[in-house]
């Protein structure tokens, strides 16, 4: 296997869910890549398809409801994982790639001791004996900062607090030194103080083992802490992606503008009201023909409703899909990203 620079490359990923009401096109042609040892954040509001993207990369889209459409490619070290056989899948999942979910209580088996849930992983991928695996599980728990790990391995998930459970999830994910870690909103369900601790643990472990990370979140605060690259998703598509600094300081898409303006900031004056994005995202049962953001965009033009814009390249890997950057479009100034307005 040649060591390519890119550990993961997703090309034109399309995922649909078949429901009673019809086919929900959750992800509609997403492409991005991740460099070895780097962290990419996928940002967007609920229901924009970011979790489905994460599950696809992890190989967790299940039939008969879920379907990854023909023509999608997920290249891991240059190999399309969608063509993996059963054996390759087994060593990829958990061994090469691991995931941390949002809700740790729901994600841990309630009737299995915590230690055993970590050991499972070690026994499956590292072929350890039970005794070795147990020692390693204790080490892992200590590594993620759980006190008295010798006692804790024998407990059940409901005996842990929320933050501790998420630490357990991280211990499970890191147990087999994965090359790729997907964090699906790992801190959303936690208190703010715990959020920081969990992010620190992830970052430390990532540095130590050189793991590449995909961080799925709707919280831009989390992103700034951890990622080098950002992809902004809206309605099943990536509308803008680029380096962290570019996205934060010179965003090019009206949705990104709105997203950044809606982050609460300390420098906001007392009387200023936080900006919100009006309306709701489009229904993915019948996605609009044009730009999905057109129904909520201040700068919407006739063309936006009719055709999907192409990516415009701003250099340094920064691209945005918006008609405002077409040569015929009127020049629009980027609004003040600090957001807030007087009422």
């Amino acid at each position: 296997m040649g060591e390519t620079k890119k550990i993961l490359e997703v090309k034109n990923l399309r995922v649909s869910y078949h429901t009673y009401a019809g086919e929900v096109k959750s992800v509609r042609g997403v492409s991005f890549s991740l460099e070895r040892g780097k962290a990419l954040a996928i940002v967007g509001e609920s229901g924009c398809g970011k979790s489905v993207t994460a599950k696809s990369v992890m190989g967790l889209i299940k039939g008969p409801q879920g379907e990854i459409k023909e023509g999608s490619e997920i290249l891991y070290n240059g190999e399309n994982i969608l063509h993996y056989d059963k054996k390759q899948w087994q060593s990829y999942k958990g061994g090469e790639c691991a995931i941390v979910f949002q809700d740790a209580l729901a994600s841990l088996n309630p009737t299995m001791r915590v230690g055993k849930q970590i050991m499972e992983n070690l026994i499956a991928h590292k072929h350890m004996s039970k005794e070795e695996a147990k020692q390693e599980a204790i080490n892992m728990l200590r590594l993620v900062g759980i006190p008295e790990p010798e006692k804790r391995v024998r407990q059940y998930p409901h005996e842990f607090s929320g933050g501790m459970r998420q630490r357990v999830m991280i211990a499970i994910a890191f147990a087999c030194d994965p090359k790729l870690l997907i964090c699906d909103e790992p801190t959303t369900a936690l208190d703010v103080t715990i959020q920081g601790q969990i992010l620190d643990i992830i970052r430390d472990l990532q540095k130590k083992s050189g793991t590449s990370v995909i961080m799925i979140t709707h919280d831009l605060g989390v992103v700034a802490n951890i990622a080098q690259d950002i992809a902004v998703m809206y309605s099943g598509m990536i509308v803008e992606k680029g380096k962290c600094e570019d996205i934060f300081y010179t965003p090019r898409h009206p949705y990104t503008w709105a997203l950044i303006r809606s982050v609460p900031r300390l420098d906001l004056k007392n009387k200023q009201v936080l900006d919100t994005i009006p309306g709701t995202p489009p229904d993915l049962l019948n996605p609009p023909a044009g730009c999905p953001f057109c129904t909520r965009c201040k700068y919407c033009m006739q063309i936006c409703r009719e055709e999907m814009p192409e990516f415009t390249d701003f250099g340094n890997g920064h691209v945005a899909a918006c008609w405002l950057h077409h040569e015929m479009a009127p020049k629009v100034e980027m609004p003040d990203l600090r957001g807030g307005h007087h009422q």
Binding site: T19, P278, D283
Partner: protein, 303 residues
Amino acid sequence: MLTPDKFKVIGYTEEEANSICRPTISYWQDAWRRLRKNPVAMASLIILGLLVIMVIIGPNLRGYDYIAMNIPDKNQGASAKYWFGTDNMGRDLFSRIWVGARASLAIALVATMLKLVVGTLYGAAMAHFGGWVDDLLMRIIEVINSLPSLLVTILIMMVLGNNLFAMLVALSITAWCNTARQVRGMIKQLKESEYVYAAEVLGASPMRIILKHYVPNMISILILDASVAIPQFIFTEAGLSFLGIGLKTPAISLGVLISLGQQTMDFYPSQLFYPCVVLCVIVMAFNLLGDGLRNALDPRLRQ
């Protein structure tokens, strides 16, 4: 074609931003849509409809008396004259079966009504009063539930005798417990739910809260409860009559017919066969419809 006039900023409107393309449909419309998409449930519904029609007109369809004896024609097999044959007294089995099915269905439906009414009132009382009343009433349910329900039914039949009224009381006397528990649970949950609290704070009248929040939840619980109870009652009635503890001849029900059929089973199996088939079809149709209703009404099973 890209023309400059397509590049004029037009912005968005409030309605557009808030428009949700999927048409909003009410809980019941949605449930009905799910039910209609379920072919098995719809087939059961049609079969039940046919059965109800047969139960109403079936006994008179052939023009035979279902009680008067007609010895010369006894124990005949199925023929053009007697579609299901005759019994050991020469009575038309086809007519008798529909009379029996009428009784079985009527008993099951009335018993279900009784069960739902008593259970709802009892459950509502438990949830409403709470405290020691709730504890006491719950204890009573627990005591009743510490006996297999058929035993209680049999005891009541012994006391009240083998008649229709006794049957109704005996069937519903244990069955309401389940309804009461579910209704109590539902009301307690709603009472503590934030949206009902919000409605109260906003000054909605008690009547409105009951109509808007309690009744719809209650109806779906009761529908599901009934769909389980009806086939159960039909079973129990048939079983009791078979054991000689339920209705007795000359009263006719499917259970009575099956029990009569068993006596001649070795020589004229058809006299046992037809009532059994009708009983099974009724019960199966109710069961399948119940499954469909559960899928349609239970929010947990929705995808």
